[in-house]
Symmetry: D2
């Protein structure tokens, strides 16, 4: 196949809002594991993994088999919230292999196909349960682009896109926002206990255990525990948004396991289907599940193929602790490589960030980080940036990435960083 | 297959918000065309078609083949908004086979996987373009369950679920809201021209050409034209929500073709993939496409399998006018059968509603309509109700339903209506 | 006194927001009854009466005596909501001479010094009582300029000044908004009974019996009764804003007496003190008075001098029906003069509007009405315009205006209208 | 005089929202200087001064003379925003005696009769000027009870009274909110500079130099300067609410003089008339005065008597620095007495607070502070409490209070505190 049909022609058909195709101006055609192949046949190592939607890599062979069978056998593909065999199998497997081993008790809502639906559903239910409107979110949070989810998201460009004032949310400092000068929750706790503070008492706090879009900011376990206790003390619901960091990204299935907390609601999406298919869950403590039938609904809440692959993915990856250990090992390897880089360029004060296989390298500026990403792309590596100024090189490789690809990708980053910082 | 694995056990795992599984308490396992098969082997005729997401029936063989090939060949399944070959093919086919033949010029945004994402994106852009916040929606509108979409939705149960006051929207009477006593748009036009009316000047009007959830209310073509002219005159954007009624449901690909209008934005989802896979589009007049890159984004905006089936569905069904004519014929057949029913039970003042293959039979009450739906289910037909009191028996059969199944289903409705009204 | 100290010099000290001093660019120094005297000694007939704040004319001699005594005797001038003798006397007199004779039972809140405070207090309490946020207001309503009051006000210039989207209010057509084509409340009632209408169920309806700022639109008694019944039926509170039309402006003390309704809350201000002193009341049906102590407060809620003059004004003017009858007579006289004018210039389709001594003459345009007002000023008459385009010549003379001044003022209007329409 | 006309009978006529009459259940009849006299003839020392509206005491003889003359001569009492001689005289005197000597340049808007009107006007204009909606306010702020002013007020009881979610405001820590652990503005500055913070960029910051209702919290001059610089740096308008602390309460005419800052807007009310008459100003930097004529208006914006007394009060008290020095001396005296009290009861950790003649003594609890206030009342002293738990004994005596009354009042407080803390 030639590149005569350049993607550029297509761009006129598509809205100016497109973004990734600007950073990586090639057209991809095939994908397997951690490799993406462009139309011109060139292979790229994928350190991006669908922004966390492909924790098990592209088109995993065993999931693919299940998916093909589902389609071949004319099983139900679209079922809204009707009962189907695959829906039940997913629910049973999720309970027996994910919730029960972790001592967690949640009912599962299917709020719609994407992460924003899961967040919207959680916010709605938190407000219904408490009778309050306000939500506390955190600096540099990302929870989605629909109006409710956007109101608790930090990014000012995205907030500006709302076209209406975003209200009902008050941002609080995330862990380490002030370089540990300030005691955790000092401000939030003071506002909550001061009857004259002017803070509308929140229905819920929504938090990510590791902020991906915000720049790979990993909250400490003790900070999460402190937050959980603060919420309990003030009868505020805790919503843990595990859309990007769940499904094993930080090691355990849930990113909050390490902290030993039990949030009131948990949102999951991205990698839950295991195959990059749209699917989302809102997990709800049973006593909070006070919804009327149909009070929240939607068209794509019964995705048969995604149920099938999601069930299989749990069986494959979460029957033992192999993946979790491997994630720890690979994460530590990246950290060690990044530490070496930081030491090598210590004048530039690179900051090594993250947990598990959510890893970041903070560059001195967004411009420099962008150059690293561009050079990496030229050398055959897909890696994006995040953070308020896009100053963090953000690594979200598939958890299943082979060691040689991981090493090859990191070598490319080394070279790109070196080239950029030596310029 | 036995029913020992009853769905009832599963219900404890799932949130109380589930609804369809309450009306149809069996578990489905296979689907083909207009037939759904339960775990106990019983077949059901499907007059529901995934609430309009399955206009070409379940698991259409030719789409299935394309889907299998896509998966077998490890083509890109999840690609955010990166360029892919299937993305380009879809865009080109959509332009050449759908937009150009209809003389329409739109850029295409992929706003996320579901219809609510398409609506949220349209509302955001309308506000950005105009610098205004307010939206005019219509009585009994349904546009989705995320906070922005919900604020322009009519249903009070669903609105109540928001947990915050829904603002920035003012409902106006939909066509025929007052049994033609009142001139069209009298109230809206008066409010727009009166500087003291207290109506915040709207950024946009959002409308469905036929209201599905609202009770199969079909606006007349002249009403839609009048609305379009009113919007132009007052420099208000017109958003046509074609999520449920597009993709041929009313005959033409777009439900607004008949009226000869050209909305400023159009939302599509549900049947656009042709296979029940999550996918959504926001069509935007090029001069309004003023978004910054990434100002609206999301994880599931590059669904490879859905691009593949969507492209094939357009090729299969929209290369000629066969489907459109068949939809007209079948719709007329339903109308004629409903008219007979209404005549037979004229004391009960049944109202026959709809256009194309979106058809409704309004019963004297929601209770009676619910009984008809239940009896139909017992007799092997899936048909739901809609309308503010669920008083309308709502038929959304696949456009491809064979005549014998259509007749068989209508016979069941006849029997059920007769049983209910003769009781 | 010369005019060397022209007002123009002062204008630089004052914000550009000033308005009346633009229409009437002279500086006034003395006032008595219906005569205002400028610094250059020229007298003006006052058909404006402080926008309804001077129903008993400027500086009424008997009220003046009471006011002087209050001040001379060092009685309490500023008392917040402490008990004072004058506060008690006012409350007792208001009850015995105003409420009891009309069979009304209200508790009295002193919400602050101005009308907007009275409206804000009523809206807050209505929301607290019902637990709902939304308010229904009417086209061309005017209720004040603070954020809560402004949100239920119609004028687009004033609304635009808010700087935030004004929400929680939905405008409904006021009486005769569609020239009687449409049955009263057809739209509102339909929205309230349709569970899918998208109207947030309102806490309250707020209405003026005659809209002053809106263009002297007088609602029919049967319309007000219909509105009152509709509110009762749907358990929505009825707030009657009598700030401009109360205290006898339309004949009876309350503008709603004629309709025989009993609103849930009534707001009064403007002429309540009788002397143009800031004072306001929110009248509340006792069973709705569920406020916590201090839940609404403010600095100027115990204006001693205003209590004194208000009490005296009630004694003077509301012990018998003399004023009410005189208002009827004078109002009929204006109406008759306006009808003659309209007949004389029938090609121009002047519209005669109003009730009691709130009277309007609608000119073909705001420009023409403005010219009439300017010419009248040149001839020694103060008369303002109102309505959405300022197209209504608005007469609010003191209720106590002597017949000769009333006639002289009407003669000036005759001349001015003739000059403008003959040009 | 007997108490047969007990105030208790009157209470049934008045809304339950009344508050001061609950703390001080007697009816007052006369007032002079710092003495209030009840109907039973008993005199009370006034350490409350109309919550700061009577900085020059009750019914000051020279202001009284001016007021009587105004009324006797039938000068204009009610004039909306028409030009009047007294309006001009006030504006000229305010400019020449207040603004010019302090090197300040403001245009003056008369936003309505009370402080809340001044705040509402300032917020509206700040939003219009900047095109932004959000406001930063401070913990324990008090700015008024109308919807716009209430949204920037801290007290949760009062906020709860709104009945709608209060939005568009984000509370920031006031000076010394964390006992100086945290650098000033650390949080606000970080949020403003972080593009991902989630803080809607504010139109304005609104602040009191000393928080009266919030518990007599006096910001340090350097904190105010820092705030002013921060606002300038980020192009955010600074609104200084001087309603309670202006007109000499803290020494200088404006409470912010000491800090040497020049706010973009200043609100004044309470003591501006000098006689407890309703009057309010919004001072606006000329370049920000972009209002359209009439874009903000209201009925009571031309209070003739208040203009007269306000002008005289400026002449009397602000032609030299005598009052300012006296306020400093008296304030220091109170502080010294409070320090002695705190030393005497050091186990109870009383906190001495305030500046000028705004002074507070923080008791260990609101209950104890309330007992002190009650005992003081029994002993003939009116003194209220403030702060989030009403734990601060709040002294706002007239600036003109004679030394013997000041001492007598402080003796009563000593006794009351001793009785309460020794119990």
């Amino acid at each position: 196949m030639t590149t005569t049909t350049t993607p550029l022609e297509t761009t006129e058909l598509e809205s100016k809002v497109r973004s990734y195709s600007r950073s990586w101006p090639v057209s991809f055609t095939r994908a397997q594991g951690s490799t993406l192949t462009a139309e011109d046949g060139r292979d790229y190592i994928d350190f991006f993994a669908g922004a966390g939607a492909l924790n098990y890599g592209h088109n995993h062979p065993e999931l693919k088999k299940v998916l093909l069978d589902h389609i071949l056998e004319d099983r139900v593909v679209h079922g809204l919230d009707m009962f189907t065999d695959v829906r039940r199998q997913f629910l049973e497997t999720f309970r027996s292999s994910i919730l029960e081993p972790r001592g967690l008790d949640y009912t599962v809502a299917f709020p719609g196909p994407g992460g924003a639906n899961a967040v919207e559903a959680a916010l709605k239910l938190a407000r219904k349960v408490t009778g309050r409107e306000s939500i506390v979110n955190f600096t540099n949070a990302f929870h989605g682009m629909t109006l409710g989810a956007l109101s608790v998201t930090g990014n000012s460009l995205k907030r500006g896109g709302a076209g209406v004032p975003l209200v009902h949310a008050t941002p609080m400092p995330y862990d380490d926002y002030f370089d540990q000068v300030v005691p955790d929750f000092m401000y939030l706790e003071r506002l909550l206990t001061d009857a004259g503070s002017g803070l509308n008492k929140p229905a819920a706090v929504i938090v990510e255990a590791v902020q991906g879009e915000g720049g790979i900011n990993a909250a400490r376990a003790e900070w999460l525990r402190g937050l959980s206790e603060l919420c309990k003390k003030h009868e505020i619901l805790l919503i843990l948004d595990d859309i990007q960091m769940g499904c094993g990204r930080t090691g355990g299935f849930f990113s909050f396991e390490e902290a030993g907390i039990e949030p009131d609601m948990v949102t999951l999406s991205k990698s839950i289907s295991g195959y990059g298919l749209p699917m989302a869950l809102t997990l709800i403590k049973p006593e909070l599940d006070i919804w009327e039938p149909g009070e929240h609904n939607g068209t794509f809440r019964g995705p048969g193929p995604a149920f099938a692959t999601a069930t299989k993915a749990i069986e494959l990856f979460w029957s033992d602790d192999e993946l979790e250990r491997s994630t720890g090992t690979k994460g530590a390897f990246i950290e060690s490589r990044f530490n070496q880089l930081a030491a090598r360029f210590e004048d530039h004060q690179l900051v090594v960030k993250g947990r598990g296989l959510a890893r970041g390298l903070e560059m001195p500026s967004g411009e420099l980080a962008g150059k690293v990403s561009s050079l990496a792309f030229e050398r055959g590596l897909l890696v994006e940036t995040s953070g308020p100024s896009d100053e963090v090189i953000k690594l979200l490789p598939a958890l299943t990435i082979p060691d040689d690809q991981l090493t090859a990708g990191l070598d490319i980053i080394d070279e790109a960083v070196a080239e950029v910082l030596s310029a």
